[in-house]
């Protein structure tokens, strides 16, 4: 019960802030309509909300780690784009596509999603499939495949996962 209350209040704050940003001004009328709409949305999508068992982001300490992770991802995205641009623009097209299986798995689905999406956004790798054993990743070059073994993403997702 207490956990459920935590989940609902977290979503309420998040969705209400989003509503205020969309409506561009703050009056009593808008706040009331927003509160009603947010309540209805939460009632309708009750099953979609993340419970504390599914994600560790309800912990304020984790949010700081997450923000730091976002900044590191920004730099990785810039690097990845630069690399892909170099490969695409070079006349010989130096690619050596391979499939690699990464034997790493995370307990929570939320962390799996973060890891998979981050791998897709970083240099030369693309998450293809996920199963119980790990992630199937397609790499544009063999160097990119080797770089995945001990990446900074895994370090951060492990930190997020830890209780």
């Amino acid at each position: 019960m207490k956990n459920q209350f935590k989940t609902y209040s977290y979503y309420f704050i998040l969705l209400f802030l989003f509503w205020i940003i969309l409506s561009q001004r703050f009056t009593l009328e808008i706040a009331l309509i927003g509160a009603g709409a947010v309540g209805l949305i939460m009632l309708y999508s009750k099953k979609l909300l993340f419970t504390p068992e599914e994600t560790t982001l309800y912990n304020p300490g984790k949010i700081l780690i997450f923000v730091k992770f976002i900044f590191i991802m920004l730099i990785e995205i810039l690097k990845s784009n630069w690399q892909v641009a170099k490969i695409v623009l070079s006349p010989s097209l130096p690619i050596s596509p391979t499939f690699v299986k990464i034997h790493k798995t995370f307990e929570k689905d939320f962390d799996k999603v973060i890891f998979g999406n981050s791998v897709t956004l970083t240099p030369g790798t693309l998450t293809v499939d996920i199963d119980e054993e790990g992630f199937l990743v397609h790499a544009l070059t063999t160097e990119a495949a080797e770089g995945l073994e001990d990446s900074i993403i895994e370090e951060f997702v492990r930190k997020l996962e830890a209780e």
Binding site: I21, I77, N81, V88, I95, G116, G124, T127
Partner: protein
């Protein structure tokens, strides 16, 4: 003046990355490698264009909105790429099993 220069640089690099993404789509040999080019470059291209809007409108609700749009694009784009790659992988597997 300086703000205009920043906006110009952002828009030009956005156009550059979109062009590279499209060129990659045309030059790469198969589905997976094409996904590499189109996901990465489209993410940064759209991100830079929206960042240019954010810089242009200064500190206002519009810039917050465009940053939220960037966040949504950066969550959904890799997910879509993953789904396309997964569909391709599984249909290939099925094809192999049939033969």
């Amino acid at each position: 003046m300086i703000v205009n220069a920043i906006i110009l640089i952002l828009l030009l690099s956005s156009a550059f990355f979109f062009a590279v993404g499209t060129l990659g789509l045309l030059r790469m040999p198969d589905t997976y490698t094409r996904m590499h080019a189109s996901t990465k470059c489209d993410t940064l291209g759209a991100g830079l264009a929206l960042l240019a809007i954010a810089v242009y409108s200064g500190f206002s609700v519009i810039s917050i909105k465009s940053i939220i749009v960037i966040a949504f694009i950066w969550i959904t784009n890799p997910t879509a790429a993953h789904i396309i790659a997964k569909a391709k992988y599984h249909s290939e597997k099925k094809e192999e099993a049939r033969q």
